[in-house]
Amino acid sequence: MAESLSATEVPLVGDFSQTPSNDSLKDVRVGVITFPGTLDDRDASRAVRAAGGTAVELWHDDADLKNVDAVIIPGGFSYGDYLRAGAIAAKAAVMSKVIDAAQSDNALPVLGICNGFQILTESHLLPGSMIKNDHRKFICRDQILRIDNNETPWTSEFEKGQEIVVPLKNQDGQYVAEQKVLDALEAENRVVFRYVGFNPNGSRNDIAGITNARGNVVGLMPHPEHAIEAGFGPSSSGFGDVDLRGGADGLGIFTSALHNIINVK
């Protein structure tokens, strides 16, 4: 896996000896969209490469998706969060292609992280919306999440109920939806990630991430792409001393997608 990172990207602390190499994953093309104001596109691309896949840059006004097998909509402040977080990006040219592909027979796997999650709700690919954190402050912390649904292409390599620790950083992170929408999400097992131990933003039902009815579109507020390299993510325990060999809990999101796609190909 280390070979798929360029020399300047090889981490100083991490131990990659345990990472299985699988060259076939290189054929999997994962698009990463950049809007004006996107911040985490480079980290998302890096996560795709660290997982063994090929990251494909997509620009907000691209009229086609460059034959990608999946799409990641990264975090940041697209269009400066003008109007509402994600509202302008949801109308961008590339998003109409993403919406079509996500709803097509092929059911393109789509992952929205943070602002990407907001863009997915504003695009109506996912229900509900995000509003300002209930405590009214920006928050940045290492967050424990529980995988409540491991049947999506983005979570299939986790155990149901498994807990992971990834960074969380947001201002508009409070997930809200009508009660009947929340009831449906729970009844249909569509809550994918749930906050554990501490609800950092007042989200209904401790919801950190959800999926659509078909399961191919997943959105979450926390940032798995910042926890993909041993020694650089949060301690996998979430408490106490930082574990220099840990902190890669988010990588499974990306390897899950790559393996799902290669199995279908």
């Binding site: 109007l83 509402r84 709700t121 919306s129 509003i131 300002k132 009214r136």
Partner: protein
Amino acid sequence: MARIVVDVMLKPEILDPQGKAIANELPRIGLNEFTDVRQGKRFELTVEGEVTEELLAQARKAAEELLSNPVIEDVVNVSALED
């Protein structure tokens, strides 16, 4: 040229942190009678010529499909701006 005004408010049940922050500031300038503040958004859409029913209909479409998010917000006013 004429203008159409669109007012959007957070739904009553949605927490409005900005409104709360403003409410907390009011006593600091000596105003103690306001028990709550809700902050909304006002949009002014400029058109050539007069405001017609057709243009008002387009403004309502803009209000519902872009200017507001029906999950969290209500469009509370779409009307021609009287000069």
